[in-house]
Symmetry: C2
Subunit: 196 residues, 2 copies
Amino acid sequence: MTEDDQDLRTRLVAAGVELVSREGVHALGLREIARRAGVSHGAPRRHFPTHRELLAAIARHGFGRLTDALAGADALAATTGADARTRIDALARAYLGFAAANPGMFELMFRHDLLEDSGTELRRTTLPLFRTLAELVAEVHPQLTDPTAATAALWANLHGLAQLRTWGSLRLATGGEDLEPLLRAALDAHLGPVPR
Amino acid sequence: MTEDDQDLRTRLVAAGVELVSREGVHALGLREIARRAGVSHGAPRRHFPTHRELLAAIARHGFGRLTDALAGADALAATTGADARTRIDALARAYLGFAAANPGMFELMFRHDLLEDSGTELRRTTLPLFRTLAELVAEVHPQLTDPTAATAALWANLHGLAQLRTWGSLRLATGGEDLEPLLRAALDAHLGPVPR
DNA sequence: GAGGCGAGTAGACACCGTCTACGGCGATCC
DNA sequence: GGATCGCCGTAGACGGTGTCTACTCGCCTC
């Protein structure tokens, strides 16, 4: 009922979202998405001029869910009166948790070769989150005149951990597959040991 | 002369290496590589059972060049009597320099969806380098009982920086496109400020 | 009620990776 | 020395892809 009378644009994105989470990025063929949405392979063209733009819309959905997850985690930490260091902890865990829970979507979101306009518009949505992270970093490191570099370095570290985990590289290097000690090491390095 | 009588296997890999550096990963079609090597599209099958295995061989070449670059940079730093901190500096710069100089190859090397056996065998080649990096980290942080986690975290940071740079994400976040302050921030975070 | 237009269909097109039958050529063996 | 065998590259078929182009059908407007 309510799902059948959605317009096709929404149904296509929904089909893609389910497909990528269930089968992975390789399953996101234009014809396969159309099949799952119950239309012919020419139908998507009315709503997305090209395959890449459909994938970009799917990735946009993913960025929305990531933003929600991070904002939710931060709001939860903030309401419990956590300090900046602990809030960054929560954000980092939420980021890596999202990547672990949605590996296909996470891969798609950062596959700029698949996304239209190289995903610039998409990544723009993460800018507010970067700013709040920068504010928290400034709170932890009050002596920094410009916390942008430190924030970007920290963000790159989290992203690198997520990326390396998804293809088992660090299991090869570290032996274990537990991300926790690496995350702790990264956070300690950038922010100092967590106060207890 | 000497290049024509190489066996086709070598010529295919060479054609792929040049193709990926000149045009990018998307240009690495099986038929296109065969075209550049001057053979029909069925010929590669005699040497590589599948397209992915040919791409894996090309990526293997890339890992070899990366290993050479890193080993060369480290050897140079070591012969000038540099301390561990400075040698890590040189390794990090060599890593990011390779990624910047060979963006297409760098992308291919970490596109596990394109590489056979998910690249496990390939990444195994970087293990020795990881170990020397771990030894250097242990030298900088003698108090660590197990420097593996710290090393992996540092390596993830470098990889994240390289990855985020290749698709202009940090230019969006930081404004500038200069990687240097971010690299410095990351190294300082993990290793402490460089002694002068 | 007629006309127009947006949305979905169906087929063609070029290209892709894989598979298979075939041809040629050199090395091997009697 | 000539026949044979095996390897290597060729060429075409096959199913699949993304894109493009008629076409049809139904709703909305005038």
